[in-house]
Subunit: 603 residues, 2 copies
């Protein structure tokens, strides 16, 4: 067998770190052959490692044996090269490569591993299908962009761990084999061999455990941990995902926010060298919904929503008038300065767009640069009414107003909110490197569940109501606001949390407001209620979606690109080929049987 050992050929430098300052040194590099170019007796072998690519040069006239070995190297061979690092001739300098001012004049080469032709080229400039990328993920991960993504993720977690350590947080691991909870998303279950007929559940989050850790006096807890939800996957969801999960004792909302703002500032500085000004803006949930039609407002651009119900109420346009008279609302956004970008045909298509958000239609008014006006509804209005609307909208030349009237204010707001984001995207106003963070606060404590025909907790039943709203629990619970907060980045929820109820009396009131009998509360949360009876500190916390945080920091569109081995939409792993069938003996050991099997796609 050939010598494929690294002995005697261990790297002195990473390929990508070599610079002019190293010129004159004898260096050894280890890596993958990125490209080989034979320039008539001079062979250029580009060698790649995690740090980058460097050129190794073999001159046949100097050493024919060495040249011949290098000549057998194909793309993705793993080799070690030793040689003298020299400055390139001025004409040969490659400004596009960080190592482009130097090259290694090879004095030795060893082939550590040969390579078959890969199913796709390891090249960031080439588009490769998702299926094949994920089947050969270990090759996909050789792409410099994917390596950068995982390095960024490493840096984010490292910053988190150091920052929270400095702030007195203890990293404490909570169980993965835990108990199925009836509320929330669908659990992944794990059959128990020792207890036939019983099951563990994989955690959807360590919520209960972290609260118990506060009850245990651990004071400040952090964990970067895997969570599981057996939901049908949307584009941006994975069956297993990672949270930065934390909880603090003896705090109020401002304390949780302050410590997390410090963290975010540190992450942006250390990972991207971006300065974030503190304190971050805060917006109440009601303001976010009113102005942005979203509880995760994207404030990188304007087009804020304005309410014109008061103008519409008495106007001559029946659709507007009737909507308001029946308790509804009429709202608009002004796409100011971009009217010329939207011809009539585009505008009509946007009507279809808002319908997917349950709006009934989209009225519009376009002000051309020459001052002329076209509109779907202006003909029904008086001059004064038009003037009032224009004034409310701050409308000038080349502005475009979109109006939604709806019986439900949230429907109107959400439709316009979605529209403003869609338009900003089309106009290129939502820049990925323009990082706009803010807190949304004062979330409603409850939301109405049509399925269950009752109020349900918007966060969870342990979220504390705002002090001034506690009396409303008895009189008008739908109006109660919670000590809950989300941190938003560019229209995405990075994380969320709340102050928890630590007073058993208040917890009882909360269960009552949720329509839980004492019995039902005990059945579902008995061990927690018991735990709280032994002395609970005021506490609160927050959890970040790490995958999404990394995706946004890296300027990417899919969390898959910041996860080493993600699953596809149908929750399977194409590289490992799982889930898969198992032996009957394994099932028998677990006292379970399969009742249905998947139909395999026809060959």
């Amino acid at each position: 067998m050939n010598n494929t050992s690294i002995a005697g050929m261990k790297r002195t430098h990473m390929c990508g770190e070599l610079r002019l300052e190293h010129a004159g040194q004898t260096v050894t590099v280890n890596g993958w052959v990125d490209r080989v170019r034979d320039n008539g007796g001079v062979l250029f072998l580009l060698l790649r490692d995690r740090a980058g690519i460097v050129q190794c040069t073999f001159d046949k006239s100097v050493n024919a044996d060495l040249f011949d070995i290098a000549f057998t190297c194909r793309t993705e061979f793993v080799v070690a090269v030793k040689g003298k690092l020299v400055a390139r001739d001025a004409a040969a300098v490659n400004k596009k490569m960080p190592t482009g001012e130097v090259e290694i004049i090879a004095e030795d080469i060893r082939i550590l591993s040969k390579a078959e032709t890969t199913p796709f080229e390891i090249d960031d400039t080439k588009e490769v299908g998702d299926q094949i990328r994920l089947k050969y993920r270990y090759l996909d991960l050789r792409r410099p962009s994917m390596q950068r993504n995982l390095m960024l993720r490493h840096r984010v977690t490292q910053v988190a761990r150091n920052y929270f350590d400095e702030h007195g947080f203890l990293e404490i691991e909570t169980p993965m084999l835990t108990k199925s909870t009836p509320e929330g998303a669908r659990d992944y279950l794990v059959p128990s061999r020792v207890h036939p007929g019983k099951f563990y559940a994989l955690p959807q989050s360590p919520q209960q455990y972290k609260q118990l850790l506060m009850l245990s006096g651990m004071d400040r807890y952090i964990q970067i941990t895997r969570c599981f939800r057996d939901e049908d996957l949307r584009a941006d969801r994975q069956p297993e995902f990672t949270q930065i999960d934390l909880e603090m004792s003896f705090v109020e909302q401002d304390d949780v926010i302050a410590v997390n703002e410090g963290f975010l500032q540190r992450v942006f500085k250390e990972v991207l060298d971006v300065d974030i000004q503190l304190p971050l803006p805060r917006m109440t949930w009601q303001d976010a919904m009113d102005k942005y039609g979203s509880d995760k407002p994207d404030v990188r651009f304007g087009f804020e929503i304005k309410d014109i119900s008061d103008i519409a109420k008495d106007c001559s346009f029946k659709v507007f008038k009737d909507t308001v008279e029946n308790g509804g609302t009429v709202r608009l956004i002004n796409v100011n300065g971009y009217a010329d970008k939207f011809p009539r045909k585009e505008i009509d298509k946007l009507g279809e767009f808002v319908k997917t958000y349950r709006a009934k239609g989209l009225a519009w008014m376009k002000l051309a640069a020459d001052g002329s006006m076209t509109s779907s509804f202006a003909k029904f209005l008086s001059e004064d009414e038009i003037a009032a609307i224009k004034e409310r909208a701050g409308a000038k030349e080349n502005d475009l107003l979109f109006v939604v009237a709806d019986a439900n204010w949230q429907t109107a707001a959400v439709a316009l909110g979605a529209l403003r984001c869609e338009l900003a995207k089309r106009l290129g106003l939502a820049k990925k490197d323009d990082f706009k963070l803010l807190w949304v606060t004062e979330f409603p404590q409850f939301e109405y569940s049509e399925e269950e025909n009752r109020l349900v907790a918007m966060h969870h039943p342990f979220t504390a109501p705002m002090d001034e709203d506690i009396p409303l629990l008895d009189t008008d619970p739908a109006k109660v606001r919670a000590k809950a907060y989300d941190i938003i980045l560019n229209g995405c929820e990075l994380g969320g949390g709340s102050i928890r109820i630590h007073d058993p009396e208040l917890q009882t009131k909360m269960f009552e407001a949720l329509g839980f009998t004492e019995e039902k509360a005990k059945e579902q949360f008995g061990h927690l209620i018991t735990a709280f009876s032994y002395g609970a500190p005021p506490h609160g916390g927050l959890a970040y979606g790490l995958d999404r945080l990394c995706m946004l920091l890296a300027g990417l569109d899919s969390i898959r690109d910041v996860i080493a081995f993600p699953k596809v939409q149908n929750a399977s792993d194409l590289m490992m080929n799982c889930p898969d069938v198992v032996d009957d003996k394994q099932l028998d050991d677990l006292s379970i049987a399969v009742t249905r099997v998947e139909e395999e796609p026809q060959a």
Copy 2:
């Protein structure tokens, strides 16, 4: 409702950090009432948080209202106390408490949370049953010793993350929902809802993933990750446990060892302020077995094993003679200096002890302080033979020799190895704060499986053989040694790893030696074999058992004490009451049915 808010009463200091240097300051502390002592109009309230305990003093004659509130406080109430920190009178100084030189003269108190009487006292000096500790784990974790354990664990993981980060390792998360592997321990399975009849498995270790990451050019990987084994629990095992898992590319064994020695030195220094001298001792597997009868030798004490087969071979004692003539071995240990600690009755009981290790019996020779000798076998031997044995054993006055003869050298060695550890334990020679680290190297590549009647991989089939032993793969595979290494601390395996095979040709040879057909190898490891064909770097790694590392650093006997929420022997969680039955709908969603149910214990 009473004001149970922390507003206005947030701590300025942790209870346990107050010292004389803070005297004169107005401080606020938050915590749990550890004890209340009424000294006739002066009430001492001891308040406890993660950092320790401080005394708060309420004088009825100064402020009767405040005193009355404090008077209602019972153990485990959560309170905030504000007051002036003062030096105690010399007579009142408590040297046993770190805060014993000061007290807080209370000026305000707020009860944040009342507490029922806890099922056991939060007191490290009180023994509490395991079952009740684990059922009320959140109370058990209030004990200062448990808080110290989890703080130590936090520190260990933090040191690991920083050390390996500094050494170029990337933290990369690998999947929890992965594929069941036929080899190794029993998997925990997770039924798939989307793919009826198919299952994920929870990982026993990220072994395949970390090797794939090396193939992907990630170069250096670390993860502190949960692993799962559905085995019947021994005292020191948990169904889910945590590994510090790492892998490096372009390295040999010495490189892996060097980087890990640096890590261990850092951990001991930063966590315990203990200096570890590097390099650590190394011992081959053969030496470890010969001298200590164990592949995890405890070298805190002597009593090393000596082989006397050559003396026994020609001796007059038939048992010894026959054993050696039939290819067996006769070995001994010398419990030097402790003969007087073991009366005859004790010695006889030790005969039973070694039988649990499959030894057939225990011969012995005792040298009293006065030079007299008693023995179970000496009467069968000549003076010369006795003298030769004594010389080999280095026997002097007050020494005690134990001899085992067995057809199988490993049986004799293991029995004597277990005996020397047992005796050292009884003699108090195995001190928990005497940290003796060493590497065991040159493990056998294969071990014989009686079950399968063939050689199986001792580590796994990707472990590289030692270069000089590669020819033996064809001629005498049982003699092949592996590039495998374990790190041992005080007789426990802290971790282990190996250099992996990166050469597909050698891998094929290895599969052949293991009796795998090409087909079987492909079936079980197809995706890995494919992956290796696209260019694999030389690589190797190691994994530590984090639970055990923390247990040993903390000087504890059970890993449960360094795990926040452990499971008991039957793999159930007494606090959460899991595993548990689930709804039929959940099972139906997963296309599985229960075939047997657990019998509940009779009431």
